[in-house]
Amino acid sequence: MEIAENRDAEKVNVTVTVRYFAILKDQRGLTSEKVSTEAATLSALYNDLAAAHGFSLKQNQLRVALNDKFVDWQEPLAEGAQVVFIPPVAGG
């Protein structure tokens, strides 16, 4: 997935794996995908994906996990990372 139109020399392109659950899985039509992105943070990555695929959930309705741990939205992305956006939960 190509996100940036004009390549900024300072931007770094990384490839991450995004796994989708629940409503995001339905809206994306996939359980996971590799995403090549110049997004610097998880927040930027979600905004890019939400715009590209029409996700209905706003970022403030979600939590985010990086490599199987809850993390802050401002966490930077590293090559090969696994990202999961976590919709409002409903266990129990």
Partner: protein
């Protein structure tokens, strides 16, 4: 001990695993699939979990219950997959020397499981429509945020 279960499970062996001569109380909670939710007739539901993170988070919750309430032991099993009305979705059991701590810890565990574990529930209603619970009423973002709890 926490685990996800893809199939129906028996609770007697789970209770047996908690047997302890120091325990004066065993409090068990069973969460059951109800036939109505928000005024709609529920026929089946599907639980989907992000199991790796869910396992870690559930173990954190059980550890917190130990620390906060001084219980002897606690366990929880949560179903995933498709469930019908009347089936058990979640089981929590706590042992302690006295009943007070066991009740408090049981309540703490199920409340935290509901707000913190990455598990989602898709309900299918009479007539065939379905919804991911807590993800539909998007005009009230606060309700969705609240469903994640304070942590």
């Amino acid at each position: 001990m926490f685990k996800f279960a893809a199939e129906k499970f028996e609770i007697d062996p789970l209770k047996k695993s908690l047997e302890d001569d120091r325990a004066g109380a065993v409090v068990c909670f069973e969460g059951i699939v109800r036939n109505r939710n928000e005024g709609k007739a529920v026929v089946t539901l599907e639980y989907e979990a992000y199991e790796t993170l869910g396992q870690t988070e559930a173990e954190n919750i059980l550890d917190e219950a130990h620390t906060r309430f001084g219980i002897l032991d606690a366990l929880c099993v949560h179903r995933v997959g498709e469930l019908k009305v009347g089936e058990m979705a979640v089981f929590v059991a706590v042992t302690s020397a006295h009943r007070h701590e066991a009740y408090l810890a049981s309540r703490y565990i199920i409340d935290e499981i509901k707000t913190r574990l990455p598990i989602w529930k898709k309900e299918t209603y009479e007539g065939g429509s379905s919804d991911w619970v807590n993800c539909q009423h998007l005009s009230s973002a606060s309700a969705c945020e609240a469903s994640h709890g304070s942590k």
